[in-house]
Symmetry: C2
Subunit: 230 residues, 2 copies
């Protein structure tokens, strides 16, 4: 289903990126802020839930984000880095993304949860493929599919099956989510040389970068089908 990137060859996995590359701390700090920002946005957006079950599902997802945050904090601690000051520099990109994609309905909140989580996972797993195994393992376990967002699929599918207007509205909404995510990802890369260098110094470098955003759009389309929005 997912357009999984080709399995990394041994040369790529041990691609010459050192575990003490300065970009690694930056990547972990960026992920850490992303988890905390997602936590607070999920709990904020849960206000729109029509019932207790919806609020509980959102709270469970939010709790999973904090568990991930704690893994990243511990990984940074082992590398001698204090997570809070390190992550602060990524606040603006992530807060901007969330501010520019504030849902106005519960269905928009659900779609954002599903699509946003998936996009973040795509983005970070692509980067993980070019990292030393030890670092990639941290990234992969943080982003491991928890199944928490599966409750979204049935609810969105039911709503868009019942209403073409909802389908069109949510399809536009999800395109906007993708656009803002790409914009903010580009801002982050433009501002943080260590991160760009981390990706560049891996096997494929620039080719990987240019193909990456294409792949992101492709996996996004797959998810639109899953939600009944294609």
């Amino acid at each position: 289903m997912n357009s999984t990137p080709p399995a990394p060859s041994p040369e790529q996995t041990t691609s010459g990126v050192s575990t003490d590359h300065p970009g690694v701390n930056e990547l972990f700090a960026l992920l850490a802020y992303g988890e905390v920002a997602a936590f607070y946005r999920l709990t904020e957006e849960a206000r729109m839930a029509p019932n207790l079950r919806g609020r509980i599902n959102m709270a469970s997802m939010a709790a999973a984000e904090m568990n991930h945050y704690e893994m990243l904090r511990d990984a940074l601690e082992r590398r001698g880095v204090d997570v809070v000051p390190a992550m602060t520099k990524y606040a603006s990109a992530l807060e901007n993304y969330h501010r520019l994609t504030t849902p106005s309905t519960w269905l928009e909140a659900l779609v954002k949860t599903y699509v946003g989580d998936a996009l973040a996972a795509d983005f970070y797993l692509e980067i993980a493929d070019s990292l030393p195994d030890e670092i990639a393992d941290v990234v992969r376990s943080v982003l491991a599919e928890t199944g928490h967002s599966q409750f979204v699929v049935a609810e969105v599918q039911a709503a868009v099956t019942a209403s073409d207007k909802q389908r069109h509205r949510l399809a536009l909404w999800s395109r906007r989510l993708l656009g803002e995510a790409i914009t903010q990802a580009q801002y982050v890369l433009a501002d943080h040389d260590e991160l760009v260098d981390l990706v560049m110094s891996s096997g494929e470098g620039l080719t990987q970068m240019t193909e990456f955003f294409d792949r992101l759009q492709h996996t996004h389309s797959t998810r639109m089908h899953e939600l009944g929005l294609a």
Copy 2:
């Protein structure tokens, strides 16, 4: 300790309370609603945090509540009970407690976090002592000290050492928290016969009940000392 517990048999209890006492499901449902309510209150009150570190501490505590909720949901599922409808009947008592104790400052939020968590733990651990081991184990592991609220102590101590006015204000505040907690606990017991029966049918019964609220006040005083509020 966790490896293959003996098959539950209602007669095999030291407390004289059967594991299929109807009050057990009620207790788990009450705890479950308490966790979800605490989750949303902590994230709400975290808005008053003066900095990112404070918001992260509150988010970590909130995430721990949801992990506890998931343990209770699983325990109820094993007993054939759907958690969401079961917990709804405890909404009003817990929401009333939180509504009547909405903090107006970050320090009040911190004290509420610490005292509220501790009172809930006292309350449920007292009940656990009178339950069959198998049920008591669930209650105790849900309420296991996570150490998440320790960050509160230093911050409150510093504030009340610097200001007598703060000390008096927060001492009054914590007395109000205790009062509202006891009031709501009494409402819950008055409305839910199965819970009263669960406590009564244990070893000490009524004596335990009358002594319980005294002990609650005593442990509360201990905590006031810890926070520098005594």
